[in-house]
Amino acid sequence: MAQFFLATDRVADFVAHLMAQKPVFAPHPKGRRSYAFALTEQAADVVLDYPRTLHSVKKYFLPPREELLTFDLTANSGAVTEPEPTDAVFLGVHSYDLAAVHRLDFSFGHGNPERNYLTRRQGALFIGVSFAPDRFHFSGSVGIDPYDMTGCDAFLTKLDDGWVLDVLTAEGEALMDGFDLEPFTGTKPPRGHFTQHIYVPQAKLGDIMKRSHDHEVWAETADDCVGCGTCNLVCPTCYCFDVQEHVDVTVTQGSRERSWDGCMLRGFSEVAGGEVFREERAARQRHRVMRKFLYISAETGHPWCVGCGRCTQACTAGISIVDIVNRLVGDAERTAVAPV
């Protein structure tokens, strides 16, 4: 579809134009040097050129905390809390985060399709934005290019003096209606290079993973890992959750609430009676990495890691998933070529 040029000094107008039509969720500065998606109140607050947000847009479709039911204890009756349908634009989404949304679409759309997720997800429009890989990104290694526009209604690619705006769907086109844009006729600049790489494709990685159950890297990482769960909670493709009951202080009303959970947490695999099936931090680290590169991937052909680098950047102990994987790859290749 059509390509336009959006000059830097028109970005705020562009955001305002979108805001006039629908709520716009976009990256905003947060804290000292972080970014987070938030509902845009002032067009000027939006940041399009950012390394990564704290959470991905996942938080809008699978909120960190979510009420599933409310109940009335006096009547002993419960009611579903209806999910709010989304009718909004998600502006400034990186390709890997959108790829992660598609992976979640699979997880929540297949098997037992889940109304909560799908209702929120359904009406979302996406305007993607290119990114310059920093020292944590490695999405190129899992087949996700910084310019990848898959799933977007429109896409912004960074130029020196502005942005190339690709309008990709009818919905995207409708959003641009009434906003004056000049066509873009040049070529996009080459995209930035990744400094982090996984050296084998998913097709081979799955095999390597299968053979790595007893690799020493798990135990070694476990010495440093403090089991805090951060890596799970920041991951755009992690979707495990816990469910808990809340009762208000009048002891008449309450709710059943779910919240994000993570397999790195000791209690996650606990069963009644206190036994923990993945008691060792090493086993939990293995489970996390295998979930990203083996389990669901074997079924879908896609790695369930999108290379955003969040888990590595956020890990309090400085553990890098890329290092773990490359260690497995390196050792697998060495044993594969070693003379018998």
């Binding site: 440093d224 403090v226 769960g229």
Partner: protein, 255 residues
């Protein structure tokens, strides 16, 4: 009530304080919005800080403060005998709290430093958590005790159901709130090994987690020390920070 497991009788509640700052009790008076609802569900039969009077028996005793004198030990045994359920309220009662910092130094030095030649006027023991002397049924952690956790426990007790303590790191709640990690600001944080339940209150307002809710079960202390050292603390300073609220729990842990 055939179809509801809820209890109908009003539990008799007593509140006691030992060695501590009484901030946890004060926090109970700070439930301005809920106080009247709370009072509707229980009978408060003894609470020195707020009322005259004394009771012989109670269903639930909330105990604040650590045990630090021979008299404390006597009193806590007496309370345990009179109550069905005993709740340790706040860090001092649950872990010994900041008071236990004095346990990391020889007690003679500590007494001398504060009272000089008069040091023998006052009997003192190491600052002990309540559970080291009598059986504790439930904990409300935090310094001061975490109000949301108190309410959770309170409703559980009123409903006659069990109360399960969270056993995750503060990082989990911190991430649920999408905070920028304070490590990003060049600070340190004890969140990774500290037990959640406070909804990451401190880190959400930009301060580091000081560990007031105690440690998660099976913490990787060596790993945590390493993290703190990586972020610029000496090993000694790292341990001081870890011990602020956990001196009793870390006693004997290998440095």
């Amino acid at each position: 009530m055939a179809d509801k497991p809820l209890r109908t009788d009003k539990p008799r509640v007593a509140i006691f304080d030992f060695t501590g700052c009484e901030g946890c009790e004060l926090n109970q008076l700070n439930f301005e919005d809920q106080l009247l609802d709370i009072l509707a569900h229980v009978d408060i039969v003894e609470w020195r800080e707020a009322m005259d009077g004394h009771a012989d028996e109670y269903d639930i005793a909330f105990v604040e403060g650590c045990l630090s004198t021979p008299d404390c030990i006597k009193r806590i045994h007496d309370i345990r005998r009179r109550t069905k359920v005993l709740v340790a309220l706040g860090a001092c009662a649950v872990t010994g709290g900041v008071n236990a910092v004095k346990n990391t130094r020889p007690i003679e030095d500590v007494r001398e430093e504060v009272y000089g030649d008069d040091k023998y006027l006052f009997p003192t023991l190491p600052a002990l958590p309540v559970s080291s002397v009598v059986k504790v049924d439930y904990n409300v952690r935090g310094c001061p005790m975490t109000q949301i956790e108190f309410l959770r426990l309170f409703t559980a007790l009123v409903m006659g159901k069990d109360f399960v303590e969270p056993d995750q790191s503060v990082c989990v709640e911190c991430k649920l709130r999408e905070n920028e990690c304070v490590f990003e600001k060049g600070m340190i944080c004890l969140g990774p090994v500290t037990r959640a339940g406070c909804n990451a209150h401190c880190t959400t307002v930009g301060q580091y987690c000081t560990g007031c809710r105690g440690l998660v079960s099976e913490p990787n202390i060596k790993g945590m020390e390493e993290i703190l050292v990586q972020h610029g603390l000496s090993v000694d300073e790292a341990w001081k920070r870890l011990e602020l609220y956990n001196a009793n729990q870390l006693e004997g842990v290998q440095r």
